[in-house]
């Protein structure tokens, strides 16, 4: 199930699982990957000073998975040969739990760090996923910017954050 690498999931995330998938892929290609950079975003206990009880993430899953494939494709253009895995969790998450896990494998480490950073920036920009924070005294839908995968200025911003 190769597309397990790019998924919306309800169960707890495991960055190890992502790395293992990428290492297996790299082995199948006949060469080890050399470097794997991973990123995990976890639920913080406070939001602008308010105590967070828990979060809920909602996704438009079929489109989110397509977006992850798009991000993989963009990474392939900038860092040829990079292997990418992205899991985003949905449903209720407790403080400290991982909401997103990303792993990128490349032959050398500079590319792994850059492509992994690019991936998380793009996930935040364009994945159809929403965070709903629940406090002691209310709740809040977090809203960033409207998702527009074709927005070249946003792509450029992600690239600059990855490489500079």
């Amino acid at each position: 199930m190769p597309d397990d690498r790019l998924a919306i999931v309800s169960d707890p995330l495991s960055v190890e699982r992502l790395s293992t998938m990428l290492e297996a892929m790299a082995r199948d290609r006949g060469e080890g990957c050399g470097a794997v950079c991973s990123f995990v975003g976890t639920v913080r206990a406070t939001h602008q000073g308010r105590h967070v009880r828990y979060l809920e993430y909602e996704a438009f899953a079929p489109l989110a998975v397509k977006v992850f494939h798009r991000i993989e494709h963009e990474i392939g253009r900038h860092w040829p040969g990079a292997l990418v895995a992205i899991h985003h969790r949905i449903g209720r998450l407790q403080i400290g739990e991982a909401s997103v896990a990303i792993a990128v494998a490349t032959p050398h480490r500079a590319e792994a760090f850059q492509a992994c950073r690019y991936a998380i920036e793009r996930v935040k920009q364009i994945a159809p996923i929403w965070k709903h924070e629940f406090f002691e005294d209310g709740d809040l839908w977090i809203e960033g910017a409207p998702a527009d995968p074709e927005d070249e200025a946003a792509q450029q911003r992600a690239l600059e954050q990855a490489c500079a």
């Binding site: 909602e58 079929p62 839908w141």
Partner: protein, 81 residues
């Protein structure tokens, strides 16, 4: 013609539902579908300038034409990660 509409996150909450059918004239665009939905759920109107749209689970522009049976999704600003 009839199309299927999906609303997510705060749009879903404001409309009180995540899915509904919507009747629009032949030749309608994604934008026409949005206006029909926002007419029915006036609390959605302020979002008009800040949503993304998907047509059959692919991103689409407001001016994309829709067909009978299409699924049109309206997405508030995103906050994954």
């Amino acid at each position: 013609m009839r199309v299927k509409v999906q609303l997510f996150a705060r749009l879903r909450e404001l409309a009180g539902r995540g899915e509904c059918d919507c009747e629009v004239p032949a030749g309608a665009s994604v934008g026409d579908v949005w206006r029909a939905v926002a007419d029915r759920h006036v609390s959605l109107r302020p979002f008009g300038g800040a949503i993304s749209c998907a047509l059959n689970a692919d991103f689409a522009r407001m001016n994309a034409p829709v067909q009978e049976g299409d699924e049109i999704a309206f997405l508030p600003p995103v906050s994954g990660g």
